[in-house]
């Protein structure tokens, strides 16, 4: 049977086109690597923006994300819950107490026995200290608070905690990042590790570094969380996205923040 295939391949009518395709696939296979981006080549999606979009992120009066940061400041100081306390009552001036926090999140929560992201930390604090109900995912208040808190780390380098308890979750995040999924049957790594810097539908493929979250995405015309962005990626691959708050997103974020170590936080970032 095999010699028939070989005859057809080498001499058949489509032989040249087929062998060319196989050759391209082989070259792609050989150049395909599951290797991480070397630290000196890591860069934020900011580097891939057009001049005007960069200017929009750089100017606090032009950056719509700052509207949410201001809202977050008001919420930080507002009394709430049956405890009738504010974040400020315990944490004081966020510029001091929250400085560096977003840069080292997600962090392991001993009581929950798993890592939690910043949004979940906010809701845990509300539950335990303010005796207030959780803020829904993607609600304006939760986005405003996480934007305000993350903004306090703007300019600081991503510093994932050196916590051995995070190791299995980082591994899970990496596995999710490298697994093929969806009808398109592609993995995150295939675009963001192997083809960053190249163009897709006219846009530059970024590395997928979560340095600006929550981010003002021009596509949303609104501020949104990393979970929302990851859902867009998953839908883009024609796969079923996990529900908001799923541990898969936290694992992914834990891995992504490790991968982004050293890059500066930009919250609120602006992205297409």
């Amino acid at each position: 049977m095999r010699h028939v295939w070989r005859r057809w391949l080498l001499d058949g009518p489509l032989s040249r086109a087929i062998t060319a395709q196989i050759f391209i696939a082989l070259v792609a296979l050989l150049t395909l690597s599951a290797a991480d981006i070397p630290p000196d080549q890591r860069r934020s999606g900011y580097a891939d923006l057009g001049t005007e979009t960069k200017a929009m992120e750089d100017d606090d009066t032009a950056n719509p994300g700052m509207l949410w940061v201001l809202d977050g400041e008001a919420l930080w100081n507002a009394k709430t819950g049956s405890a009738n306390k504010s974040c400020a009552d315990c944490h004081g001036d966020a510029a001091q107490s929250m400085r560096g926090v977003a840069a080292r999140y997600p962090a392991f929560d001993a009581k929950e026995n798993r890592p939690v992201d910043l949004e979940e930390r906010i809701n845990l604090e509300r539950r335990d200290r303010l005796k207030a109900p959780p803020l829904p995912f993607e609600s304006r208040d939760l986005l405003a608070l996480s934007a305000y808190i993350a903004n306090q780390s703007r300019g600081l380098a991503v510093a994932p905690p050196d916590d051995p308890r995070l190791k299995p979750f980082i591994a899970q995040g990496r596995a999710l990042f490298e697994a093929r999924q969806g009808q398109i049957d592609m993995s995150c790594a295939q675009c963001h590790d192997d083809n960053w810097g190249k163009k897709l539908a006219g846009n530059i493929v970024p590395q997928g570094q979560p340095t600006g979250y929550p981010v003002y995405r021009l596509e949303w015309q609104s501020l949104g969380s990393l979970q929302r962005r990851l859902r867009n990626c998953i839908i883009g691959m024609r796969a079923e996205p996990y529900a908001y708050g799923s541990p898969e997103y936290v694992a992914l974020e834990t891995f992504l923040m490790q991968r982004a170590a050293g890059l500066k936080i930009e919250t609120p970032g602006v992205r297409p």
Binding site: D59, D60, P64, M66, L70, Q221
Partner: protein, 106 residues
Amino acid sequence: MARALIKVPPKAKRGEVIEIKTLISHIMETGFRRDNVGKPIPRNIITQFTCTYNGEEVFRADLHPAIAANPFISFFTVATESGTIAFEWTGDNGFQETGSAKISVE
């Protein structure tokens, strides 16, 4: 809730041309989108932005649905005297928002 961000230089020399930047929180719903069951979402936009300098209009813009959400408008004015530079945004569904900044001109 933070509605607007304004940037006006706090000090200027008389006759100096200064730049003013404004950003307002607004969805600028075009009226051409449909919801997830196909029903048209009604238009909801800011239609006018006005800037006055000690009560006198120095800049005005008529906005259409083509203006992006969270409208950003920057423009220039001559620093004529100390006082208040005031802003007003009006639009559909009785939308009205105001802001102001003080300027010291020597």
